[in-house]
Amino acid sequence: MSKDVFDVVRDQDVVFVKRRIQETAIKVKMGLVNQTRVITAASEILRNMLRYANGGKCIIEVVTSGRNNGVRVTFADKGPGIPDINLAMKDGYSTGKSLGLGLPGTKRLVNEFDIQSKVGEGTTVTILKWANG
């Protein structure tokens, strides 16, 4: 099982990581629309990680369940953490200048979405998209 770990610290790293996610998605024979969904979802999380936590780590994995293959991406940072996750997951809520679509929008684009955060320690977001899901 392939597992790739990347550091994300600069704007341009995002372009690179997105390309690697796309390569992985193609490898598990994911269709174009699902590819677009998972890369867009990753794009949202990567921006949050850069903006609020000054970057972090990104892990790209292929996962298999029965006959279904998929791509799992984990984003881990050592930033300030999110005090109220329920609030952060609400449509239209933002502490920054954004539209507040990032987290809730991302959740709509993927099959599985998990967020763990501790104030002062960091945030870990995991997204999973099945090739046919």
Partner: protein, 134 residues
Amino acid sequence: MDRIPILRMGKFLLVTIQVDLYDRLALTLEADLVQMVSKTNAKGLLIDISAVSIVDSFMGRIIGNIAGMSKILDAQTVLVGMQPAVAITLIELGLPLKGVYTALNMEKGMKLLTSMIDDFDDDVAEEADDIIVE
């Protein structure tokens, strides 16, 4: 620093985005375009995103900003060539791009832009008609 070229064609400005956008590049494009509209007195803005495979909430906001800012400066914006997968993703993300005119391709976008400006100013439309080679 990387920059996306802006082409001037009569009363219009043309932008074709051919690279993967990252945030700073998109912000630079926004600033450049608004400056160019003011400097060239452009009446219309045609943005081609047919080569763009990902539009996330930030990019969507920049597109909306460009259209809004240009409008205040008396220029209309038409977004052309969006890939179907991008349209699906934008709606699911919750970003319907309200207030941004769109067309399927460059040719239709140019027609839409010309007709919009036609309504406002006949002189401008005459000039613009000369530009379109049938």
